[in-house]
Symmetry: C2
Subunit: 259 residues, 2 copies
């Protein structure tokens, strides 16, 4: 019922890039396979489920047994109408006049997101960012297992990070197969990202989380999500500019008009 259009290749959510700069001179890259995705949940809702999940886990940790849509919405930073609509896509898991059972809803959302399975992750690029990711304990609290860390720098290879020994990038294919990696994380410099991505894809990985500031080019069927620090900053800058005509905090009388 929803989603029948094609959006470039197979991408999901906001900020998902796919093509590479070099592809520019070549093929129009108009993929013939939109992959309809007939199943129900809207993308916008999927993107919020993890937020609800985290709020619920906090609630659960603090011993709250049930929560109203209003309360959960506040905790998640959305309005209650949106929350109820989102949850309604999963099913009717609330109790009218009462609210939602926190634990039950945690279970349902986790199941929907596929977190009852264990996803194996490989991180390529063990610089500061890669290390931060590797050490990020709460990688979904559960559901994700970091199985391999890889880097091209021989000074890093062999070093122990987050309890794992960093492998050489040359063993990527082997690592993917041995560990059954399903999600590849790219935390390399921009120049290396596409190459790493290609190798991930070649090895059979169909989900990639990209931290490098490049648009990755992937074949249909592969999902790429991108996290881009400078893009987020630029968006903030745009709004900041709109708020007070220039730099500084409000209250700063910076005659920075024009330029």
């Amino acid at each position: 019922m929803r989603r029948a259009r094609e959006e470039q290749r197979t991408c999901v959510g906001p900020h998902l890039d796919t093509s590479s700069i070099e592809a520019l001179e070549h093929t129009p890259v108009t993929p013939p396979t939109p992959r309809p995705r007939e199943r129900g949940i809207p993308e916008a809702t999927v993107a919020r489920l993890p937020v609800y999940l985290r709020a619920l886990q906090a609630l659960n940790a603090s011993g709250t047994p049930t929560i109203s849509s209003e309360g959960l919405a506040t905790a998640a930073g959305v309005n209650s109408a949106k929350l109820r609509k989102d949850l309604s896509y999963l099913g009717s898991y609330g109790t009218r006049g009462v609210g939602y059972d926190v634990e039950y809803l945690i279970y349902q959302i986790s199941r929907e997101l596929g977190l009852t399975k264990d996803w194996t992750v490989a991180i390529v690029g063990i610089g500061n960012l890669g290390r931060a990711l590797a050490n990020y304990g709460g990688f979904g609290t559960r559901g994700f297992r970091i199985a391999a860390l890889l880097d091209a720098d021989t000074a890093v290879v062999g070093r122990e990070v987050a309890g794992l020994s960093v492998r050489h990038i040359d063993t990527l294919e082997e690592a993917v197969k041995m560990e059954k990696v399903s999600i590849g994380v790219i935390a390399t410099p921009a120049a290396a990202a596409q190459g790493v991505c290609d190798r991930f894809v070649e090895a059979g990985v169909t989900s990639v989380l990209n931290f490098a500031p490049v648009v990755l080019n992937v074949p249909p069927g592969v999902d790429v999500r991108k996290v881009d620090l400078s893009i987020e900053l630029q968006i903030l800058a745009f709004h900041e500019q709109r708020k007070n005509g220039g730099h500084g905090r409000p209250g700063w009388i910076e005659a920075a008009e024009g330029l």
Copy 2:
């Protein structure tokens, strides 16, 4: 003309959270000031401008003088109709029958995003992630200047990171005022994030980029953007689950030739 509704507090873009879990038991937090934002450019477009900008900079670096909407769209991973529509909000900067002048368009987008001004950034939480951010040279290539690094850990305070001496968190207010910080970046553990945010806001910062896995509660007029690693992973997991019923790679290793 566009945007008249209110969406929680003053937030921008996807994944922007605001309230905190504790607020849950208290006030409905319904701000009376929606801040209309009558000015033109759609939020969805703003979020893509940085992507176009980066693609253009790559083009420029490779010596390409002009580019068609088709070419730029491919480089940016969107379709050309969307690209043209987006650019049309900025003005008519293209030449029919030809395309866009790369340098000129770079200038126009930069100006629109407010990158011709310099934004001053302070990062709180100098763990692996904070260090990664501090060292991330291409913080927008330009437009952003990291002016202060702060941490609560006395073992880190005083250490030099990315050419800056890490200050103690107690000097946050002072640092914000002295350096005229306009964007605060939070890379602390979840538990500390709201407190740091409150101090940023109190000190006059109205734009916050949050890497901590919590929903921040801010007053109206303050923009919060959130980058959340585990949320991105969970979204990928959802789609991965949809693709092949379980873990592992799909059997159809129909890789792309690439290079």
